[in-house]
């Protein structure tokens, strides 16, 4: 599906934003206390992933079906992650 020049995201701008977010994560890991840093770094990672997925992978412009194909496995992985907590995180 051709998106066309008018409808195109600012690819360079997204790239700058991605680099900026990397800088923020690094700063957080140095400056912030451990748990807060972890939270911020994780949030930043999600933000970067969304920027790439929505803009570079054009999900922003795609039909609902592709969103569903992309999101459902993420949900499943999150279920797996939480189900593993009792046996590995809480047990040691």
């Amino acid at each position: 599906m051709m998106i066309g020049e008018q409808n195109r995201p600012n690819y360079f701008g997204i790239w700058m934003a991605l680099l900026g977010l990397v800088a923020i994560s690094i700063a957080a890991s140095i400056v912030l206390p451990k748990s807060l840093a972890l939270l911020l770094i994780f949030a930043v990672a999600i933000a970067k992933a969304l920027l790439v997925a929505l803009n570079y992978m054009h999900l922003k412009y795609e039909k609902l079906l592709l969103y569903i194909i992309a999101i459902v496995p993420v949900v499943i992985v999150i279920i797996l992650l939480f189900a593993l907590f009792p046996d590995f995180v809480f047990h040691r």
Partner: protein, 559 residues
Amino acid sequence: MSEELSFWRTYVFSTDHKTIAKQYLSLGLFWALVGGLTAYLMRWQLAYPDTEVPGWGFIAPDFYNMLVTMHGTIMVFFVAMPILLASFGNFLIPLMIGSRDMAFPRLNMLSFWVFSLASLTLLISFFVPGGAASAGWTGYPPLSAKAAYTGVNWGLNLWILALALEFASFLMGGVNFLTTTINLRAPGMTFFRLPLIVWMQITAAVLFMLSVGPLIAGAVMLLMDRVLGTTFYLPEGGGEPLLWQHLFWFFGHPEVYVILLPGLGIVLEIMPVFSRKPIFGYRPIIYSTIAAGMLSFIVWAHHQFLSGMDPRLAMPFSITTIIISVPFALIVFAMIATLWRASISFPPPMLFALGTLSIFILGGLTGIFNGSAPVDIYIHDTYFVVAHFHYTLFSATFFAGFAGLYFWFPKMFGRMMNEPLGKMHFWLTFIFFNAGFVPMHFVGLGGMMRRIANPMQYEFLQPLQPINTFITIASVLLLLSQIPFVVNFLWSLMRGQVAERNPWQANTLEWSAASPPPHGNFETVPAVYRSPYEYSSPEAAEDWLPQDRPLASPAAARQ
């Protein structure tokens, strides 16, 4: 569309979905023979421990472990999946949706050849020093993580590689099935006019695609432990054996529904045809299937109640496991309601479909015992579990598989199978299967553990031995009962009565194509006007009404 291709391009390196389906069928049937051989050897050893198995010789204990492992691996990954999913799915999906082929024919061909490579890898593993894998089809570490623990080195590495290749093959197949069904449907073929087997196949494909990933990750980790000295699963290195179990069963449970759903789909196609009645509850069946599919992702730890996992997980997983029986019960009731007050005839496909239903019900009932954690404390790792999963798996794989083969043989090969031989095959199989596996429940309740090579070594099991002997005799007779099928299949391929386009007078689109369909399937791409199950419809003179028949004129209706 029909240029003359060389022998190699027509029969070996074909991109035609029908040929690929037959290729998968051939390999699957070959592996079924190997799997049957492992069953024979195991059962003989169990009934007459440490005696010479006729036609083979003595079975040493670690050879027995290898038999147990390979029987499971072969039957699940190299028989059930290639036949039910790859073969029936490949053959039927394009025909039933009115497409000329799959969306990605070359990817389809690649998937078969990767599967062949997987088969070759597994075959080779029998002949390497140390023999084939022997850590169970579930491959739990630490037993599987260090060669020293099983005495099997390359056999287990090749086992992991064979499975990885098999997964890659079916991932390619899954991409093809899903994309084809989503995008290549004929005009008028909406999602809610799809035959139920297509719904089942794509649900199975989704389940497989989304559940196999963690196991691929886990298998990479296991191979690294074995070969690179990592310690993912080795406690002495900070690793976690239990991690493998979670990753394995996270896939392992959806996997059993990946196998079951196409089997149920076959039954759901056959029943209306030989009842001359629409399927009861078409949409509820679809919604139940989707619900069961979603639930299948949150029941897996019912395989791990006794693994030492956090006991607080036992209750939620028991609850979800009991809940998942509901959508399947609905499907079973829908099948029974379809039969209610129907004009039923009993050719071999219908006999096997009814056999699937009855055996699946028994398997489903024992599933409830297994899924409840308090009960599972006693029956885990006993033959009660073995009986349960043979009832469910055998019904889905063999009874439904045979039903499908007898039903679609005319379409696949252009000839009819012999009916009396088919009926004999059914009755012998049905009788000896039940004769063998009903007593197995009791042997399990009596405490007989899984995977032991010699029950007579345990004093408390010795009184049960007559039952074991009985099960073995029934199993051997069950294996011999497959001879009528082999004879029938091969003979009919060459000398069977030539089949017409629609010998069963069925409604779905594959019956509008020639028997067998040519390259490109249809003379003209069909247009679809109605649901697949308009049998005994008031709109038609006959008791069937194909999906692609327009009702514009009375002359057309009388075709």
